[in-house]
Symmetry: C3
Subunit: 311 residues, 3 copies
């Protein structure tokens, strides 16, 4: 397995010295935002991780290898190239075997982080149960990954184009903890609130880190979703953004945009309809997640050093 994995120098050094490492995904760069904002965001997020005491590891597939930590040149490639495949679990082996450029989603970033023994991963929003999934069965592979792969995902909730109630039900059935950090309800990406109450919330990164440690020491396989609301100053009005999301979904339906093309289309349309404000919000929430996620990673890492994982 090791032959497929290549750590950046910075990540190698962090691991050698026992420093915390935070995983970051590459689909948000290649498919989630336009150039050059995507690359700028990626670099700022990496710097936020460093400023808070950990080392960033942006993950991507290049030339038959899983890269754990990208160079500046590699970040540029993922920001610009039109030939980057969006790689979910089902695609991962093929993209590696055929040496294509591949951007990792939430699911595959979790897989690769676990392969590299990185336990905390920061992103914008997870995938979930799509609206209408009662009849289409369109459910993101991210949810199955959360049920089986031991990586915590810090996000601003599930992407708001999803059915949040069904996403929470699915995660409950699968036994995945959904933790509110500084919120008693599930944040809805562009907004700080939703009608969905959480049954576990805390203002302490230390409690979150202790819960993760307990979970994995007990061999309770799978990840956790740690939801961190978008900063107040970038949060959108709920009625305003929900109206726009509904319109974007209608246009996707009219244009028969489905499957893995759906999310990029909707995000593009929402950006257009908000005059670019959704993109600003998206960037700011990721940066905020990077700060909180790094604090969790550092706290988790200290607990491990104090008291090595016992099995």
């Amino acid at each position: 397995m090791k032959k497929y994995i290549e750590l950046s120098l910075e990540v190698q050094e962090a691991k050698a010295s026992g420093q915390a490492v935070v995983a970051l995904e590459s689909t948000i760069i290649s498919h989630g935002m336009p150039y050059p904002q995507n690359v700028k965001m990626a670099r700022e997020v990496e710097q936020i991780v460093r400023d808070n005491g950990a080392v960033p590891a942006t993950i991507a597939i290049i030339d038959g290898k899983i890269k754990i930590g990208l160079t500046d040149e590699e970040l540029e490639i993922f920001g610009k190239s039109p030939n980057v495949a969006k790689v979910s679990r089902r695609d991962l082996a093929q993209i590696i075997a055929t040496k294509q450029l591949g951007a990792t989603t939430v699911a595959t970033t979790m897989i690769c982080a676990e392969l590299a023994d990185i336990k905390v991963f920061v992103t914008g929003g997870i995938g979930g149960v799509h609206k209408g999934a009662e009849t289409t069965m369109d459910i993101s592979a991210d949810l199955e990954e959360l049920a089986q792969t031991d990586v915590a995902v810090i996000c601003a909730g599930a992407k708001s184009i999803l059915d949040l109630a069904l996403t929470l039900e699915y995660l409950e059935t699968k036994g995945v903890p959904v933790i509110g950090y500084g919120t008693e309800c599930l944040p809805a990406f562009y907004t700080r609130e939703s009608e969905h109450k959480l049954n576990f919330f805390t203002d302490s990164v230390d409690v979150i880190a202790e819960t993760l440690k307990t979970k994995w020491e007990l061999n309770l396989k799978g990840g956790a979703v740690i939801t961190n609301p978008i900063p107040v100053e970038y949060a959108m009005d709920q009625d305003y953004i929900n109206g726009i999301i509904d319109q974007a979904i209608r246009e996707a339906e009219e244009n028969h945009i489905v499957g893995k093309d759906s999310t990029p289309f909707l995000l593009g349309k929402i950006k257009e309809l908000t005059g670019g404000k959704s993109l600003d919000a998206n960037i700011e929430l990721v940066k905020h997640n990077a700060k909180v996620g790094t604090q969790i990673a550092v706290s988790f890492n200290e607990k491990l050093s104090d008291n090595k994982l016992r099995v």
Copy 2:
């Protein structure tokens, strides 16, 4: 992992001497029945296990530990305290990490039993697919647990407030054996019969024990549901109880009772509408399950001693 688990003296001695141990859940005490009937039932059930040749291990979370076997004082606490959390898989690590009082559901009792190497667990009824789950996706975590955790659950079928046909489909998709003990159809908790035929039924606890042993020796992960109908003298008339269940479900809908509050509300309402007879039935079916489950545990244990699990 061991540091989180604490066996009672009785369970320690049983394990040291090679005696069979039977797991029991605590949610049935804290959330399933009123005080003092719940504690009385728990003690009687424990005694039935002893009388049939095994040692009972009621499971609960106390002060950061998974307790395998409770003292009389601890049983009282779970019977009376209003501050006991109902702990499903997603909640387990948090309740342990934050040292709260937690009662284990079917899913978490299975998890904790497996951690303590106990293979047989007696309860009233398992969770399942809720009525209306085609659109709500409200499906108990118990079903996923049965698909992955190597513990056999002896019960009187799925709780009758559930959609039994969909519950059976889900278990079939997940590859979970559903065995009828002394019945060719799935019992429906308060009644001995339902319209759902089983494809595996037997009158022999030995055949059940041999099947469990074969399953786990083949590394076929997951549990099994062993359904044991309520004793004839306590069984209710099907039309009578189904009418009451339908009424309780309507009242839950009218009062917007959903999620984990739903089951306790429905059971309370059914008790009220049957003038307490549903509670008597519930207690008697658990006692009957304890007897049959202990027989299975003893038979399984003998097979293991004859012929240690080979991998």
Copy 3:
């Protein structure tokens, strides 16, 4: 575990000499086709595997053992006996423990192949999400098996009586690769084409073998579906066969044929309505799958010998 598994002499010799082995299922013999065509088909398929450089291992349950490779006499028994149980994952332990005759489905052939360390399995079509499963939850255990058991299945697509769109969604959620061999769309068993585009297709058995090797070396658990369209000369007209399938489904509904009886009923009815042509098509597509599957198995086996699986 070994005590339950019995390899035929031919399979033992293949394994000793490092030759590739191809798994074959027995339900297609006992429940999928009438006698004597079923036994004739089974022998021809085994010979095609040999002619292409591997050794066939038809899998079945006999007298408490998992047989990996059947004798001619055993093939006859499975072709003729009315007492063969159709064994899915939930039934496997019971059929072995009670020493019944059992025919393995796609799911259980995968399980048994993995137990015997055979990685490539040739069949006609996999199970999937049934039409109407949005409300019935009737979903084949084959799909869950593909998500967890490391065996590649070469087939002509999912059985055409299924909902192909929902089957693909389910497999995507579960992270199972669906690979088109010589086709860019999912073949629909009796026809070479469907409206469902695949996102991974190739004309090279070597690329498929390399992908499988990469997948399992990365510990990405689960199988893969390799879809190989029915040969042109046996393919049916899409409108013709779909009309017949719809009629068969209507008759099944009218006769209340459900659950595991459904597939044999539908295949029998389709055979009747096509005047036997569907049976010829079925036999020819299996033979074609045997040829392609064996090429994949041989290529995979060579890669392993060059470069032993590293973990």
